[in-house]
């Protein structure tokens, strides 16, 4: 699968409190959450992001709280993919569990600039900066995680596992 979109760029340690501030966590409605996504570091994000756009950030993206509202809000904004130098572990598993594509790629994280057009191929991990022609390659997921993403998240994966227990990670 391939996606293409415009880059929104952020730095290191983007925490879940700025992705979706706790003052909005009195709802679980993804669209309501999306309206406040990234508000405390980029007040214009929610109104300017378009379906298919891509977040590029530094290291430890999604650190802090375990709130799944953070990847849910990003997904509900229409973001097609997050590329970071590294992800905090709870955010990483939450994104996989809800079927939000994420890629670790320190080189792209360092080089790709805001506003550039980016094309990402999830099957090969190839990231192409269409604005300047640069190509990067991201770490591919281990097979179990590829299955999770392919199933569209943990719930669909576990249901399919009920029918076919042979695909358990162990």
């Amino acid at each position: 699968m391939k996606v293409q979109g415009k880059v929104f760029k952020y730095g290191d340690n983007v925490d879940t409190d700025v992705i979706i501030p706790a003052r909005y966590l009195n709802t679980s409605d993804a669209r309501e959450l999306a309206a406040h996504c990234m508000e405390d570091i980029d007040a214009k994000f929610a109104s300017s992001v378009r379906p298919g756009d891509i977040l590029v950030a530094g290291k430890n993206f999604g650190c802090g709280s375990s709130r799944e509202h953070a990847p849910l809000a990003i997904k509900a904004c229409g973001v097609a993919c997050i590329i970071a130098a590294s992800f905090a572990r709870i955010f990483y598993r939450n994104a996989l569990n809800i079927g939000l594509p994420i890629l670790e790629c320190p080189a792209a994280s360092e080089t790709v600039a805001a506003g550039h057009a980016l094309s990402v191929d999830f099957d090969t991990g190839a990231i192409a900066d269409l604005t300047n022609g640069m190509i990067f390659s991201a770490e591919p997921f281990p097979p179990f995680m590829q299955k999770l993403v392919a199933a569209g998240g943990l719930a669909s994966y576990i249901r399919s596992q009920l029918q076919n227990p042979a695909i358990a990670p162990a």
């Binding site: 375990s66 709130r67 509202h69 990847p71 569990n97 162990a170």
Partner: protein, 427 residues
């Protein structure tokens, strides 16, 4: 190849003799936790797993604590959703406001719901707190919690480990909070990312159970998957006193592999404070400079236990909170609240000019009960000082121990406890 304590617990719960760092496993769970923010999302997901009932009514804990007592109509709806699910599925560990309630990570150990050797997930990042009891426990998201409630299992990538060797004994006014902030200052907010922090060394003996809860609680603030302590006499006594199941003590193998070892001499530590906006921006209090403050919060799953309140009261006794400061004290559980009342601590706080709240997360996550205005500064015994964590995006949170928080409330600026009477000097 030898295994760490965490790896041994994971192997046992995955039904394997051995696991290796990096391996993906499916493990059986002894407890699945969620709160009023994360449970509603999990409950929404639950039907998608194709199971009618929860896997075990005794092994699920649902705790209304973040926006409870209900702070507004939407929060009330979230709590109602959780309450209804608990009733429908006969979830035994649901803790209603006022009924032996409290902040989840203070409450579960207090109720004896986690024992040594357990494998626990919670839809809350500070679920790592129970590592203090020698359990493997880690924070996950709501979908994982829903899967856990439905199947009693979770997938894990077996973590490599950092060994943290503690030596000596801390001086007066130095506690668990200073130890963990010092460590995070050393290794950074992603210094233990995807790893377990395995505490060891003779210094462990010198730490009270409450100190260990504080330390394990903030393992996540170094990016760790979990933090874990050996099961010694202190842990066994605590587990026994709180009616926990018979502990299963795992110990790391002699030849366990660690990615690195960090040594901390507890006797050399001084009280510290983490400046905005990362828990790793750690300075000793005596190097904090002149930082006037508007608010102090003493509470949370990090430092809202009885020994925290005793220390704060001791640092505050006979003194008064500075006129410009609002000091909010929040016992972490109903039991802590009652004990503090019986010991006269609540009276000490009230007479010193503090307000004492019912147990709640409240201001810790910028929920309610003490939100900061633009430009305001707060010294808090909580665990995160991210941008906007406790209110306005231009407010500031400084993380510290109960001793430093209480001394700062009295001084009206960041101050150490030993000399807060004479206001401006520090240790």
């Amino acid at each position: 190849m030898g295994m760490t304590m965490t790896q041994k617990i994971l192997a046992a719960h995955a039904g394997k003799d051995e696991v290796h760092a990096g391996e993906l496993i499916q493990a059986k769970l002894d407890m699945v936790l969620a709160n009023d923010i994360t449970a509603p999302v999990a409950i929404g997901e639950f039907p998608r797993f194709g199971r009618k009932d929860v896997f075990d009514r005794k092994k699920i804990a649902l705790v209304p604590d973040h926006f409870a007592p209900n702070k507004d109509i939407k929060a009330a709806a979230q709590c109602a959703c959780m309450r209804q699910f608990a009733r429908e599925h006969g979830v035994e560990n649901y803790f209603e406001v006022g009924h032996d309630c409290g902040i989840e990570h203070a409450l579960l150990p207090e109720k004896g719901l986690v024992s040594a050797g357990d494998c626990v997930i919670g839809a809350d990042s500070h679920t790592c707190t129970y590592g203090a009891l020698g359990a493997f426990s880690t924070g996950v998201g709501s979908t994982d919690a829903a899967a856990g409630m439905a199947t009693g299992e979770a997938w894990f990538k077996v973590p490599p480990a950092i060994k943290v060797v503690l030596k000596g004994a801390p001086r007066k006014w130095v506690g668990g909070k200073d130890v963990i902030l010092h460590l995070i200052g050393l290794i950074g907010v992603d210094g233990a990312r995807y790893q377990s922090l395995e505490f060891a060394g003779d210094g462990v003996d010198a730490l009270s159970m409450d100190d260990r809860f504080t330390i394990a609680n903030m393992a996540i603030e170094a990016g760790a998957k979990n933090g874990i302590f050996p099961v010694d006499a202190t842990a066994r006594r605590y587990l026994g006193e709180h009616g926990a199941r018979e502990p299963v003590a795992y110990a790391a193998d002699e030849d366990a592999v660690y990615e690195r070892t960090v040594e901390i001499d507890l006797s050399s530590l001084k009280p510290v404070v983490a400046f905005p906006h990362l828990p790793s921006n750690v300075r000793t209090v005596d190097a904090a400079g002149d930082v006037p403050i508007d608010q102090v919060v003493i509470g949370s799953c990090t430092n809202g236990r009885i020994s925290d309140l005793r220390i704060a009261a001791e640092a505050m006794a006979g003194r008064h909170v500075a006129p410009a400061v609002r000091c909010i004290v929040i016992p972490a559980t109903q039991r802590v609240w009652l004990q503090a009342m019986e010991e006269g601590l609540l009276k000490t706080f009230a007479e010193a000019g503090c307000v004492v709240s019912t147990p709640t997360c409240g201001p810790c996550l910028g929920g309610h009960m003490g939100i900061l205005a633009k430009g305001e500064r707060c010294v808090a015994t909580t665990n995160r000082n991210f941008v906007g964590r406790m209110g306005h995006v231009e407010s500031e949170v400084y993380l510290a121990s109960p001793a430093v928080a209480a001394a700062s409330a009295v001084a009206g600026r960041i101050a150490g406890p030993a000399t807060s009477q004479s206001n401006r000097q520090t240790f």
